[in-house]
């Protein structure tokens, strides 16, 4: 076993998950200006729904799509009933609304799903692949491939398709976008729906490899947010940022141990944040 190879593999798997989460947050941010702090709950809901249905005996082609649908529905609900009626509110208050929604969701999940961690079987079984002294289970490979593919697809969609452009226009200036014929409400729903789908997808791919409980959402929101912010909230950078985060966590853990992971990675994070904003002179709403 080669610890370095294993670190790279492990880091890529984490990175794929972070990338998916980051894109979801960036999507919501770009269409609503709001950092959706309830995003991670879509992961938790997807994972728990899948686990519960799997335990009840449903086959994978039922519980996996059901889980993703649940996640999509969740974020659609958040957008439609919590955010949309309050479109004119200041961003800070809306972020707070999403934070409160996250708490409420956690409470509901605790009551309905219990407090124990749950899991469900891998969809892709078989002997793990051995690569250069490292081990990658088939589920892990699918996680990386599908996860990154989905993230790339959404990024390309946002950057290069007319609909994607419309979505991005919506956050910048919703009134102008409306004047130009963009149905802002539908655009927002679409964005949140996709974000929910990505959250559910990451759960369906990752949870068989670990576990999920009613509290998993917060951690996922945090990591997605960090990766998204690292990428400057730009769709083009979210994937890279997610991968970078996953890989650096893994490499630092390998060489310096888990206790050093947080201090080193987050010091680097501060450094990156400082570096990325070196050209920006004025924060706030200032734009000459």
């Amino acid at each position: 076993m080669n610890p370095l190879t294993q670190s790279l593999i492990s880091g890529t798997m984490s990175g794929a998950v972070y990338a998916l989460l980051a894109i979801g947050i960036v999507l919501a941010f770009h269409t609503s200006r709001v950092v959706n702090l309830a995003h991670g709950e879509s992961f938790a809901i997807g994972g728990l729904v899948a686990a519960v249905l799997a335990d009840a005996g449903m086959p994978v082609y039922v519980y996996a799509p059901a889980a993703i649908c649940a996640s999509i529905l969740f974020l659609l609900t958040v957008e439609r009933f919590l955010l949309r009626p309050r479109r004119t509110w200041p961003v800070g208050s809306l972020i707070l609304v999403t934070l409160a929604a996250a708490f409420l969701t956690r409470g509901v999940l605790q009551l309905t799903m219990g407090v124990d961690p749950l899991s469900f079987p891998r969809m892709f079984v078989g002997a793990p692949f051995r690569i250069a002294g490292g081990v990658l289970p088939p589920q892990g490979l699918v996680l990386i491939v599908v996860g990154l593919a989905a993230a790339v697809a959404v990024t390309l969609f946002l950057l290069f398709t007319p609909l994607g452009h419309k979505l991005r226009a919506v956050a910048e200036n919703p009134d102008t976008a409306e004047l130009l014929g963009v149905n802002v409400d539908r655009a927002r729903s679409l964005a949140f729906g996709i974000a929910g789908g990505l959250g559910g997808l990451s759960a369906v791919l990752l949870v068989p490899l670990v576990s999920v409980d009613y509290q998993a959402g917060l951690g996922m929101t945090l990591r997605g947010f960090i990766a998204a912010a690292l990428g400057g909230m730009a769709p083009s950078m979210a994937i890279l940022a997610g991968l970078a985060l996953g890989l650096s966590e893994a490499l630092v853990t390998n060489y310096a141990g888990a206790l050093a992971q947080d201090p080193i990675v987050f010091l680097a994070l501060i450094g990156v944040a400082v570096w990325q904003s070196r050209k920006i002179v004025f924060g706030g709403t200032g734009r000459a």
Partner: protein, 572 residues
């Protein structure tokens, strides 16, 4: 509001609460609850300053609460006596906060959130990584706190929190309040008004962190054990939630938030499994129907009432006319603004190429040209927002090309295409914003007089006490212009002042510009409305794609064929 009154009121309320707690008359409120809440409330005052008042997304304040306790604990292990260790720990944390502020406050919005979050994670991680120093994940135990009894701790809590609120109320009002709210709303505009945004934010971050440090140090000595999670992200986010619940930006916000949450925690023990659900539902309810927190629900109506009262009070008690220093008196340098060969390139794009012109004192000069010609870029260079790629900018013979934005405020007044007024402040307060920066040594009353006089000169004083949010766009533009001229700066820049104005307002604007030039200010206008500009300006410069194509008396240049082509293109 007076300096001391809020502090006194709060102390009385806290005293009553403490009494109720002591006697045990309210379920869930005991002396120990009071202490356990007072210290986090004190720390929350700091967060209120940083996040509530100035709007900085600080997601790492819990770390500043835990750090002094960790430092004190470490020093204790090293044998430093307690009476020395405690103040030393606070000093160290404040110094660290100042250092971190320098790095972090440059970061805009989301990056600041990430940076502060990262800081919190670093502190938590370091605490875990060095158990020999910090007690590690099992926690750092503080024994000395136990020596004081409940009564002593309650007294400390009452004094500390009262001092905290009183000091906050004393500091955050008048010019400081206006300045901080301006920064929160629009940093660019604040800079142009003369505010050193970076320095102010760093100062607030440090002061706020000092409150967190004192609150934290007291809290952890009281509780007796400190674990790494106490420095971490989850705690910091909880604090933000608590503050938002109580009302961010309000004086009472931290106290209401802290006591409500802690009382809720005690009471909700009865809810068992439903606790998280109830907490989430309550939180969501408050957030959706009371976005400014409990304080907003309860205090706004009072403030509006009080605001109107104090407005009339202010109106009657005016200080005698303060001598208004006029910047354009004194050496009557006739040449005011000179641009020499100013060019600006963004990457490969040449926004401006070799622009030169001169504006004399008292002259009204106009910059015209189609959209994208570079007019606003030019303004930004003169304001100091942009540094030109080459060329010089001289004001009254002095080269100001390298002068920072906020240092030009006394010399240059500027209004914007979209008026950059702070909507929540009154019209008068907005105008005072500039007076605060230009005349820092004058008293509040004197500056108010200057602002009022300015509004009177431009016949806008009827709007003085309304909030900007209530005033129409046209009037806001006029206010923005009036503000730009406070203190009679030698140069006034007006960016598309006529856009959005009705006919009556246009003539009002012409009069205002006439008054400005009569006072000796050089006025430079960017404007599309050729008809309007021909009436107010004498000379002008036409720009097209960054290149100057005609300069001179307006009537002459507007008649030139090249200029007509630029404007009417294929039509001519």
């Amino acid at each position: 509001m007076s300096k001391v009154l809020p502090g006194i009121i709060v102390t009385i309320i806290l005293g009553i609460l403490l009494f109720l707690a002591w006697e045990g008359w309210i379920a869930g409120l005991t002396p120990s609850t009071f202490c356990a809440t007072a210290f986090p409330a004190l720390a929350l005052i700091g967060l209120n300053l940083i996040f509530g008042v100035v709007g900085m997304l600080a997601f790492g304040q819990a770390a500043f609460m835990a750090l002094p306790a960790y430092f004190a604990g470490i020093m204790d292990r090293m044998g430093v006596p307690l009476l020395l260790a405690l103040p030393l720990a606070l000093v160290l944390v404040v110094l660290l906060a100042r250092f971190m502020a320098e790095i972090l406050v440059r970061l805009p919005g989301v990056y600041l959130a990430v940076g502060t979050l990262g800081f919190g994670m670093v502190v938590e991680g370091l605490a875990r990584a060095f158990p020999a120093w910090t007690g590690g994940a099992s926690g750092l135990v503080f024994e000395h706190g136990r020596d004081l009894g409940t009564a002593a701790w309650c007294l400390i809590a009452l004094i500390a929190l009262s001092l905290g609120i009183a000091s906050y109320a004393w500091y955050v009002r008048g010019a400081v309040w206006r300045r901080l709210r301006a920064i929160r709303h629009d940093e660019l505009a604040a800079s142009v008004l003369g505010i050193d945004v970076h320095r102010e934010k760093a100062k607030i971050f440090t002061i706020g962190s000092a409150y967190s440090a004192v609150g934290g140090l007291l809290l952890f000595y009281y509780v007796g054990v400190l674990i790494p999670e106490d420095a971490g992200v989850v705690r910091s986010l909880e604090q933000i939630g608590t503050l938002l619940l109580g009302g961010a930006g309000f004086l009472a916000g931290p106290i209401i938030g802290a006591f409500l949450i802690d009382w809720f925690f005690v009471i909700s023990g009865y809810a068992a499994r439903y606790e998280l659900l109830i907490y989430g539902a309550t939180f969501l309810g408050v957030v959706m129907y009371a976005p400014q927190g409990v304080s907003g629900l309860l205090i706004r109506p009072w403030q509006r009432l009080l605001g109107k009262q104090s407005a009339t009070a202010e109106a009657t008690e005016q200080a005698p006319r303060a001598p208004i220093a006029s910047m354009s008196d004194g050496d009557d340098v006739s040449s005011c603004l000179v641009l020499r060969d100013v060019s600006q390139a963004f990457g490969g794009v040449h926004a401006l190429s070799n622009v030169s012109f001169e504006v004399k004192s008292g002259e009204v000069f106009s910059l015209v040209g189609p959209n994208g010609a570079g007019k606003t870029t030019l303004f930004n260079i003169v304001s100091g927002i942009l540094r030109p790629t080459s060329g010089r900018v001289l004001l009254r013979g002095v080269d100001i090309t390298g002068l920072p934005v906020n240092r030009r405020a006394a010399l240059i007044g500027r209004s914007f295409q979209t008026p950059r007024l702070v909507p929540e402040l009154s019209v008068l307060a907005n105008v005072m914003l500039r007076a605060d920066q230009i005349f820092p040594r004058l008293s509040e009353a004197e500056r108010r007089t200057i602002a009022l006089d300015q509004l009177k000169i431009f016949a806008l004083e009827g709007l003085s006490y309304q909030t900007v949010g209530e005033v129409g766009l046209g009037q806001r533009k006029l206010i923005d212009i009036a503000r730009a001229a406070v203190g009679h700066p030698p140069l006034v820049l007006l960016d598309e002042p006529a856009v959005g104005l009705a006919d009556g307002e246009l003539s009002h604007l012409s009069q205002m510009i006439g008054k400005l030039s009569a006072q000796g200010c050089a006025v430079v206008i960017v404007e599309h409305n050729i008809e309007f500009v021909s009436n107010v300006a004498s000379r002008g410069l036409v720009l097209d794609s960054g290149k100057p194509i005609a300069q001179g008396a307006l009537r002459d240049i507007m008649a030139q064929a090249t200029v007509k082509a630029v404007y009417f293109g294929a039509l001519s």
